[in-house]
């Protein structure tokens, strides 16, 4: 059934469809409509689970972790400062191998205080051991939350599903809401282990020595790497049942391209138009959308980009003293290849600053004409480049 929905409300619909048992949340702009919608659904019985009004994001995540260890299906949502505040608990979640799904609405992290979209909030959690999936629009967000439960409950790792603040979170567009019975069929039966077994009591997460610590971390690392196969399989199955699939990356027109544009989140939509416009003018440009960020999709990135001469990356995020985070990761992923493209890093669209297709076209033309790839990022500020 197609309805007009904001990205936030699309995520709330997904939570309903997944029959989530426990939700703990704290309000923060621009995530609040997810929390409000779910609260409404719990109060009118559309969601049968428990809703805990938390007094902070740190506590919300703490309660999600212990509820998930008790074997029930769990959801939370946050943004920006809230995600930063949760940081400690994000490590606890992945280290305890719980299957939480969290929707993250990307927003700048202060200072200075601001509210627009910026992925630094979630990207700075990249080392917490969470699977991270970046979505382009509301439809993808809804579908990805459903897939995320299948993945999280198969590999026992928590999953972040991210959308751009205000652009995707508040923009209203037609969204196809899948049939509830089909979602039931798609998701694994609710059978997470209750790790507080009274007959077989265990002490979860007691203190370990360095030997055990490394052993636990190595296992977590290997399982995170392997999770990619589960993500690919979940996406394919979703495609079969619902007619939509996204891949861990999406490659478009890269085979013969002179330059490949790489970006993520809502910026992909602008890059699509830029690519189309340039192709119409006979300029060979391709596009790679990165959806999966952790585990990093090495094979796919190498497959689609290694043979190009030039790649440009647009990052709506910044690692101060280094550059755009996606750009940095791409460079790292390809460094050991014999043959690799030159990589041009651009930082733009911070705090939701408009980065229209025309600007992306100009960036692509600049890269085509400029043979020296800069070590440091080029800032795109204002509507012109």
């Amino acid at each position: 059934m197609v309805e007009l929905l904001s990205g936030n409300h699309a995520i709330a619909e997904a939570v309903r469809l997944c029959k989530v048992d426990f939700i703990a949340a704290y309000p923060i702009t621009p995530q609040t409509p997810i929390y409000e919608k779910i609260a409404e659904m719990v109060s009118d019985g559309r969601i049968k689970g428990q809703m805990m009004r938390a007094e902070s994001e740190h506590s919300a995540m703490a309660a999600c972790i212990s509820a998930s260890l008790t074997g029930v299906r769990v959801f939370t949502a946050s943004s920006s400062q809230g995600i930063a505040f949760m940081h400690e608990m994000l490590h606890f979640a992945s280290g305890n191998r719980v299957s939480i799904v969290m929707a993250c609405v990307n927003r700048v992290v202060s200072a200075p205080w601001a509210f627009g979209s910026d992925q630094t909030d979630t990207l700075s959690q990249r080392d917490t051991g969470w699977i991270q999936l970046y979505c382009e629009d509301g439809q993808e967000a809804l579908d990805t939350v459903i897939m995320a439960y299948r993945v999280a409950e198969t590999v026992f790792l928590p999953v972040m599903v991210t959308i751009d603040g205000f652009y995707t979170s508040h923009f209203i567009e037609p969204v196809d809401i899948p049939d509830e019975k089909a979602v039931d069929k798609y998701l694994p039966p609710k059978s997470l282990p209750n790790r507080f077994d009274l007959k077989n009591p265990a002490f979860i997460q007691n203190v370990v020595d360095s030997h055990y610590y490394s052993e636990f971390k190595k296992r977590q690392f290997d399982d995170t790497m392997k999770a990619k196969e589960t993500i690919i399989e979940a996406d394919k199955e979703f495609g079969k049942l619902f007619g939509r699939s996204y891949g861990v990356v999406e490659a478009d027109d890269l085979e013969d391209a002179d330059v490949g544009i790489v970006t993520s989140g809502a910026l992909v939509s602008c890059a699509r138009i830029a690519k189309k416009n340039l192709r119409e003018k006979g300029i060979k440009v391709g596009l790679l959308k990165i959806k999966l960020f952790r585990p990093f999709p090495y094979d796919e990135v190498i497959k689609h980009l290694a043979n190009l001469k030039k790649v440009l990356v647009i990052d709506r995020n910044v690692s101060c003293g280094k550059g755009g985070i996606f750009c940095d990761e791409l460079k790292g992923a390809m460094y050991n290849l014999e043959k690799r493209p030159k990589i041009y890093g651009f930082i733009g669209g911070l705090c939701g600053e408009d980065l229209p297709p025309e600007t992306i076209e100009k960036i692509a033309l600049y890269v085509i004409n400029e043979d020296k790839a800069p070590e440091k990022p080029i800032w795109i500020h204002g509507m012109t480049f």
């Binding site: 426990f22 506590s59 703490a62 309660a63 212990s66 009274l198 007691n206």
Partner: protein, 292 residues
Amino acid sequence: MDTRDDLLRQGHYACPGCGLAIAMKLVLSALGERTIVVIIPSCEAVISATYPFSALKVPAFHSAFVIAAPTAAGISRALKVRGEDDITVLAFAGDGGTYDIGLQSLSGAAERNEDFIYVCLDNEAYMNTGIQASSSTPFCSWTVTTPKGKKERKKRLMDIIVAHSIPYCATATIGYPEDLIEKVKRAKKKKGTRFIHILTPCPTGWRMREDLTGIVSMLAFETKIFPLYEVYDGEIYRITKMPKGLPVKEYLSLQGRFSHLKEEEIEEIQKNVDKEWARLLYLAKRNAENCA
């Protein structure tokens, strides 16, 4: 008591004479096997043993420092979803994790009246990290971060918790195990947030002989430094045991952490204790009069 049936097994990692370990044992024996325990960084975490061992005979989860209360809330709500409503969820936290870093999350859970028992094991400093002052450390007490004695008074935590109007709050100490066990059992029968504040002497941090734990616990009560009482629904106070009202000096003089005290300081401590006792008596009597 037959220790073979203890839910805190022998061979745990507490220092000799640790009051906290005794409190854990008593609380667990009062609650029984159908209990899930939340532990946060503190002596109780170390006492509960390191991987792959466990001193606890019930399922337990060692969570982060700030969040004993919401962690317990997550479990108790999840148990409701699972339809298992005869299991007690218990949070063990120290004074640091309760008075200081964990107070916000405890307050949040208490305001929502989340269904669990929260036990604050109060040894009046951060003992596990090496005796640093917490907001529970008493006036004048030596710690490594208050080398000349703490200038501020102990935070009146019970008053803060009582202000949340939760169904049951109580104080207890290992010096009176029957009183402690009774209170835990009373708490177990109720639903919602229940809070028990237990004074647990720590020979290591209190700088005293290991065999004095029991005596010091009793003296804390008999000197009125640590009165034993209950509060129902944030309203009805009941003093569960009447102290003799011995001079505070008898309590203080056994502990190295107070060995530097001057007469004026002891007098001031006595004055504060008398004032707080009068206040508690007023609250308890007021209830009796109101009921009459």
